[in-house]
């Protein structure tokens, strides 16, 4: 391994030499990684909201009144026997009421007018694969409309339909941001490759001498790779700081006012950091290798 002092000197002199191009590379990396981080946080936010709204349950089997405990246990057995069924939980009227009150706590008029006894008890069914809703419907003898012929069942509801709606609204946004961040990452890679190439060109005489006296190719390459890595990591650190800033500025005020929705927390932002650093490292190393390929094939 080259000595640290040598690496540091080579890297900083490289940054000073083509400062403007380095700045372009750093700022593009910053924007690309900021958008990438935003996309990850949006995904996290959506999944938090889905967890809250559905309690991770894909199918609700609403039971008709009055609920017979024997019906509950026989239906549970039938459902558990299905391989696609992961969990079956019985939710009685009181629990349904409590959940209803939480979900609509900001609409007190609604909560006050609804009688808890009007809410049906249900079996909450978790599936290994939400696509397999039809199997559940079939085994309970229910039609496509959710109406069932089996005694004791009022109707079954496929909540994945609701999830689908939520997903489709956020998907456009998420994919859009990811796409822009991808394009930005590619531009960042091109700019980093360019700084590396300019550095190589500016020092082609030095590199020629290094080769003549028997420096290994990696000793010649590593300072340039480190320079690219350094640029992209500066961009990544800036992106992380700004993500925290955005979270504090826009999400923190919501904690108090919109209480029933779980918002992304600091730990969610922290969880994004390794991904941004990995993306920065991969992009800059690839860019560096591509940028120097033509110059070092001796």
């Amino acid at each position: 391994m080259p000595r640290f002092e040598y690496l540091f000197r080579e890297t900083t002199s490289g940054l000073r030499r083509n400062g403007l191009v380095a700045f372009a590379a750093i700022s593009t990396t910053f924007i690309a990684l900021l958008l990438f981080g935003l996309a990850l946080l949006i995904s996290r936010q959506v999944s938090l909201m889905i967890d809250q709204a559905t309690g991770n349950v894909e199918v609700a089997v609403y039971l008709s009144d009055p609920v017979n405990p024997d019906t509950v246990s026989s239906l549970t057995e039938t459902l558990v026997a299905l391989p696609v069924v992961e969990t079956v939980d019985f939710e009685d009227k009181e629990e349904a009421c409590a959940r209803f009150k939480i979900l609509f706590r900001n609409q007190s008029a609604l909560v006050n007018t609804v009688d808890c006894d009007a809410l049906p008890a249900s079996l909450r069914v978790g599936l290994t694969n939400p696509e397999e809703y039809a199997q559940v419907a079939a085994v309970l003898g229910c039609g496509r409309d959710g109406r069932c012929s089996a005694p004791g069942i009022d109707q079954i509801v496929d909540q994945s339909a609701f999830l689908e709606k939520l997903f489709s609204i956020t998907r456009v946004f998420r994919v859009g941001v990811l796409l822009i961040s991808f394009v930005m990452l590619v531009s960042a890679a091109i700019l980093i490759a360019n700084t590396v190439r300019m550095g190589l060109f500016a020092r082609r005489k030095e590199i020629g001498i290094m080769k003549l006296v028997g420096a290994t190719n990696w000793r010649i390459r590593i300072p340039f790779l480190v320079e690219g890595l350094f640029e992209s990591l500066i961009g990544a650190v800036a992106a992380i700081l700004v993500l925290f800033g955005l979270k504090v500025a826009f999400i923190n005020p919501l904690y108090g006012t919109v209480r029933f929705v779980p918002w992304v927390s600091n730990s969610d932002v922290v969880a994004v950091i390794p991904w941004l650093l990995i993306a920065a490292a991969v992009v800059s190393l690839l860019a560096g290798l591509v940028g120097m390929r033509r110059f070092l094939d001796v």
Binding site: Y6, E206, V213, G214, R219
Partner: protein
């Protein structure tokens, strides 16, 4: 130390630079490669450095078959070979000390080795007083001595010199030749490509003459023509 067996070098554009060249150079020899421009002198040097691979034939340098040497191992071959060129190839933004130390630094020698060997070798080439000067503050002869110091600082087995006196006036050239002779006397094999007739005639060393890529003369204690 150096062995070429039926070496032919044809460049990609079809030019034949060397044709069926066979040469043996023993350890500690001093050899002039002479011939007109385009006779293949520089190609000869480039092949020994493995900057190019021969089209045909086998080349051994310091016991290694160059055709079988991987790109990975090539730098280690070059650590055994010092090189001196007509244009000195010094880095203008580095001092004399740094230029010579650079050759050790980039092959990973620790600082204490650099601090010990660089002044030693600069003393040998007579530049102890100019450690901290930059190349553009030196005369041509002094610059070539710096490049000789750089070539020798890693104690190579072979010193390759491609027209080392090509940019120097006759009296400075003599200085450089004295230095090459000195390096040769401490056991380094020296191969020098040149078309400087006066120098070759004065040194009376082995002369290999190339013409259109062929060896037309190989003479111990020879003269230019």
């Amino acid at each position: 130390m150096i062995s070429l067996q039926h070496v032919t070098m044809v460049y990609r554009n079809g030019t034949t630079a060397l044709e069926d060249v066979s040469v043996e150079v023993d350890k500690g020899e001093f050899v002039f490669i002479v011939g007109q421009s385009g006779s293949g002198k520089s190609t000869f040097i480039r092949l020994l450095l493995k900057e190019e691979d021969a089209t045909k034939g086998e080349i051994y340098v310091a016991g290694k078959n160059l055709a079988k040497l991987t790109a990975w191992k090539t730098p280690h071959l070059r650590r055994n070979i010092g090189t001196v060129f007509q244009d000195f190839k010094l880095l203008q933004d580095k001092t004399v000390f740094e230029n010579v130390g650079f050759a050790l630094e980039v092959i990973g020698k620790p600082k204490h080795v650099i601090d010990q060997r660089v002044p030693e070798i600069l003393d040998l080439v007579g530049l102890s007083e100019k450690l901290n000067n930059y190349p553009d503050e030196l005369s041509g002869g002094e610059q070539q001595r710096v490049s000789m110091a750089r070539a020798c600082v890693n104690r190579p087995l072979v010193l390759l010199a491609d027209e080392p006196t090509g940019n120097l006036d006759p009296s400075t050239s003599v200085e450089i030749m004295r230095l090459l002779d000195k390096v040769n006397r401490i056991g380094t094999t020296v191969v020098m490509a040149t078309h400087d007739q006066a120098i070759v005639d004065a040194m009376r060393r082995r002369v290999i003459e190339l013409d259109k890529g062929k060896v037309i003369r190989d003479q111990a204690r020879g003269v230019y023509s």
